[in-house]
C-alpha cells in the first residue's frame, strides 16, 4: 500500500471512530426540539416517506441527522440522503450475514464518501434487572426455581462480540423496551430506565440508538413540562459518558474467548460478563500470542486451523488454562501439544490433562448451563490474578479499563437494580488514590483504599445507576492535572 493510501486510510479510520460513546435518539415526530435543549446532537430518523422533510427540520435545529434503514433500502436511501445533507446512514443489519453487509457497505462508502455509514445491531436487550414472571393478559404464568442470583439483561456480550467482529466501528446497537404492565404501557419507561440504557452504552464504550416512548417524544415535541422534567434528568447521564477523560481505553481481561459463532458462545460470554469476569473476545483469525497477553484462561468455541491451535497450546504450555468447548476437543492432539499426563475425567462431559506448565480442559458438548460454566471459569483463574472482584453487588456489572500506556485504571460501574447500593470492589494492583464520580453526584469523591496482598480494595458508598472510579498508583500524575 502506498504511503498516501495509508495516510488516507488512517484519516478515514480516525474519523470513523467517534469519541467515547454516543447516543443517537430515534426521532419520529415532525419537529424535534433544538439539539441544545435535547442535549443530543445525533438523531436517527427511520427511513419513511417523511424522512427527507423531517431531516431538513432536524438539521435546522442543530442535529447531525442519520437515516436509519434496512440493508435492502440502503442504496436508495443513500442516494436520496446524499442530496439533502444527511450526516450518514445507519444500516440495520437485521438477520443479514456480516459479509453481505460489509460488501454492500463497501460499495456505498465508495459511491458516497461524504456519508458516514454505520451498522446497527438491533438485537440489544433493554438493560434491566429481570424477574422470573411471565405476564400474560389472561393471567400470569410463573416458573419456580431455586433461589438464584438476580438475572441481569446486559448488552456487554453483544458489545464485546460486535467489537471483535467489526473492529473498525464502535459497536452500535438498539433495543426495544419491554413494557409489561398498564402503567408502563401508558407512561413508558421511567427516568432510571432511560438513564441505565444511556449509562450502559457509555460504560461499555458503545454507541446506542435510543427509542423514546411515544408519550415522552410527543411530550417534548409539544414542549410539555412533564416530559421535559423526565428528559432533563436523563440528560445528566447523556453528559456523563462523553465527559470521559480518556479517549483510548483498553479493557482488562482475565479470560480470552475465541469464537466465530456467536450463537454458541453468546450465552457463556453473557454469563461471564454478568459475573464480572474481565474478558476479551477474539475471532479465530485474530488469535495470536499478543492477543492472549495478560490472559489467564482462554475458552475456545471455534474450530482452529493448525497454527492457531498451536497458539492455544503454547499458551497452555506457559502456564495458562485452555478450555476447549464442543467440537474443539482434539485441538491439543492436532497441534502436537506435548500432552504430558493422562487425561483426568472431571465430569461426564469434561476431561483435563497437563500441558507444559498449564493444562487443557476438554468439554465434549456445547455449554448447556452458562451460569455454572461462568462460575467454573472464575474458579480456574488464579486468585492472585483476578483483575476485579465485587462484593454485595449482585445487581452490578463492572468493566475495568486501563488508559492506553498508563498504569492507571478506570472502573465503570452499573447498577441494574437502579437503587442506591453500597458496593465493595477489589482491583488487582496497588493504588493510592481512588476517586468516584457519578451522574448524580458529579466529580469526585475520594474513597479510602486498602492495599493488601497486591490488591486494592475500596467501597463505593452509594452506587445509584452508574458511576466511574479512577484509580491511580502513587507515582502517577493526578487525574485533575490532565483534565
Amino acid at each position: 500500500m502506498s504511503t498516501r493510501k495509508t495516510v488516507l486510510l488512517l484519516v478515514v479510520v480516525l474519523f470513523a471512530v467517534p469519541a467515547w460513546s454516543k447516543v443517537f435518539v430515534r426521532w419520529t415526530q415532525p419537529v424535534p426540539p433544538p439539539a441544545k435543549r435535547l442535549g443530543v446532537h445525533e438523531l436517527a430518523i427511520p427511513w419513511t416517506a417523511d424522512a427527507l422533510s423531517l431531516s431538513q427540520g432536524a438539521a435546522r435545529q442543530g442535529y447531525r441527522v442519520y437515516a436509519e434503514v434496512a440493508i435492502g433500502d440502503a442504496s436508495s436511501a443513500a442516494k436520496a440522503a446524499a442530496k439533502v445533507g444527511f450526516a450518514g446512514i445507519i444500516v440495520n443489519s437485521g438477520d443479514s450475514q456480516p459479509d453481505q453487509i460489509d460488501q454492500a457497505l463497501r460499495k456505498l462508502r465508495s459511491a458516497y464518501p461524504r456519508l458516514l455509514f454505520l451498522i446497527l445491531n438491533p438485537n440489544g436487550k433493554q438493560p434491566q434487572m429481570r424477574g422470573t414472571l411471565i405476564v400474560k393478559r389472561n393471567g400470569v404464568l410463573e416458573a419456580t426455581s431455586p433461589t438464584a442470583q438476580p438475572w441481569l439483561d446486559t448488552n456487554l456480550a453483544l458489545v464485546r462480540l460486535e467489537r471483535a467482529f467489526r473492529p473498525a466501528q464502535t459497536p452500535l446497537y438498539s433495543f426495544a423496551w419491554e413494557l409489561t404492565d398498564s402503567l408502563q404501557q401508558q407512561h413508558g419507561p421511567d427516568v432510571k430506565d432511560y438513564a441505565l440504557a444511556v449509562a450502559e452504552a457509555g460504560a461499555f464504550d458503545a454507541d446506542l440508538v435510543l427509542s423514546l416512548h411515544e408519550s415522552l417524544e410527543t411530550g417534548m415535541a409539544q414542549n410539555n413540562p412533564g416530559a421535559w422534567a423526565v428528559w432533563d434528568q436523563v440528560k445528566s447521564y447523556l453528559r456523563f459518558s462523553p465527559q470521559h477523560p480518556e479517549r483510548r481505553l483498553d479493557p482488562e481481561a482475565n479470560v480470552g474467548v475465541v469464537t466465530d459463532d456467536d450463537a454458541a458462545s453468546y450465552e457463556p460470554i453473557n454469563l461471564l460478563a454478568r459475573h464480572n469476569i474481565a474478558l476479551r473476545v477474539l475471532r479465530p483469525a485474530d488469535l495470536s500470542p499478543r492477543g492472549l497477553e495478560g490472559v489467564d484462561v482462554v475458552v475456545v468455541f471455534s474450530a482452529l486451523e493448525k497454527l492457531k491451535a498451536e497458539t492455544v497450546t503454547d499458551f497452555a504450555k506457559k502456564g495458562g488454562v485452555a478450555v476447549l468447548v464442543g467440537s474443539q476437543r482434539s485441538l491439543a492432539r492436532q497441534s502436537d501439544s506435548g500432552q504430558s499426563a493422562q487425561p483426568v475425567r472431571l465430569s461426564e462431559q469434561s476431561v483435563s490433562y497437563a500441558v507444559g506448565k498449564g493444562r487443557m480442559i476438554e468439554l465434549s458438548e456445547p455449554v448447556t448451563d452458562p451460569e455454572s460454566f461462568a462460575q467454573d471459569i472464575r474458579r480456574l483463574i488464579d486468585h492472585h490474578k483476578i483483575r476485579i472482584s465485587l462484593w454485595n453487588a449482585l445487581t452490578t456489572v463492572a468493566v475495568l479499563y486501563r488508559p492506553t500506556g498508563t498504569p492507571r485504571r478506570i472502573v465503570e460501574l452499573l447498577n441494574y437494580a437502579e437503587e442506591p447500593l453500597q458496593v465493595q470492589v477489589q482491583v488487582k494492583g496497588s493504588f493510592r488514590s481512588i476517586r468516584f464520580e457519578s451522574p448524580e453526584q458529579g466529580c469526585c469523591e475520594s474513597l479510602k483504599p486498602t492495599v493488601r496482598d497486591g490488591f486494592t480494595e475500596f467501597v463505593v458508598p452509594s452506587l445509584n445507576v452508574a458511576g466511574r472510579v479512577y484509580l491511580q498508583p502513587e507515582s502517577a500524575a493526578p487525574e485533575s492535572s490532565r483534565r
Binding site: 422470573t132 405476564v135 410463573e142 416458573a143 419456580t144 409489561t180 475425567r345 472431571l346 486468585h383
Partner: protein, 342 residues
Amino acid sequence: MRWSSRIAASLMLASLSAASAHAQDLAYVHKKKFVMGTVFEIVAYDVSPARASAAIEDAFQEIVRLDGIMSNYKSGSDLSRLNRTAHFHAETVPTDLYNVIEESLRYSRLSEGKFDITVGLLVNFWKAIMRGDRAPSSAEEERLRRCVGYEKIVLVPPDGVDLRSPCLQIDLGAIGKGYAVDRAVQVLRLRGISSALVDAGGSTIYGMGSPPGQSAWRVRLRDPSDRIHPEVMMLENSVSTSEQTAPSLLEKDSAGHIIDPESGLPVKTAAAVSAVAKTATASDALSTTLLLLGPKKGRELVKAMLGTAAIWISPDGQVEAASSGPQILLAAENANANDSSR
C-alpha cells in the same frame, strides 16, 4: 396412583374457564425490587393501577423493613446483633424476628433437625469453597459443625432469644424470604388488593385471590428433567422450590449451598423439590426440609401437615409426590410418577 396428564389437563381447563368477563377490564401492575439478595416481584390486579402501584410499594417497604431485621449480611440488622451478643444470655428481639425463629424451631423439631437455621456457618464455609476462595479443610469443617444445633437456641417469651453456644449463628436464608412474602401479602390485603402474586426470586410464590378471568394463579414448577411440566393452581397458598447448586461442568467434586446439618456436608441430590403450603413461611421451610429428608421420609411429613403437597423430580424424569390436600398437576404423558398420597 399414576398421574394422568388427561385428568390434569381437564382440571386445568375447568379451573381456567370459571371466570367473569368484566374482570378482564382490571388493570395489572407489575413491579420488582432487589431485596434480601434476590428479586422480589409483585403483580396486582385492580380497577385502579395507581392504587395497586402504591400498595405494591408499601409491600416492598415491608420487605425492606424485614430485611433490616433478618439479614445476616447487614451488620446493623437485629439478627446480626443477636448473633454477636446473645450467647449464654437472652437478648430482646423484634417480634418479627422472634416469630420467625419460633417458626423455624417448629420445623426443626418436625424434621428431626434436618431443617436447621444454625447451619449458616457451614453454608458459608462451603460457599467459599465453591467460589474457590478457600480449600476444603476437615479440621475447620469439624470446628464449624460443633457450632451447629437448633437445640442450642432457647426462646424466652415473649421476645427473648438465648444462644447456648459460644459460636452459634442464626441464618434465616431458608425461611426468611417466605416470612417476608407472607408479610407483603398482609400489606396488600390491608391496602385493599384482592388479586396479587408475590414472588421472592422464583423460589417462593404466594397466590392471593386469582387473576381476572381465572379461578387461580397458574404456576409452573421447576422440572430439571424438562419432561414432566408440573403445575399448581395457586389460590391463597404458596409454593417454594429447592434444589442443590448445579454440579460443576469442569471440576471433579463440586460443593453446594444446601447443607445437611447431620453430616455437615452439602447434600448430594440432583432432584428439585417443590412444596405447596398455606403460607409462604411454611412452603419456604418445607422445600428445603423435604429436599434434605428425601421422598421416603418427606411423604410422612407432608401427610402430617394439612394443606401441603410436594413433588420431587430428578433430572431423569423420576417423580415422587405426596399431598395432604393441594394437587400438583403433571402434563407429561410418560411421567413415571409414584404418588402415595392416597
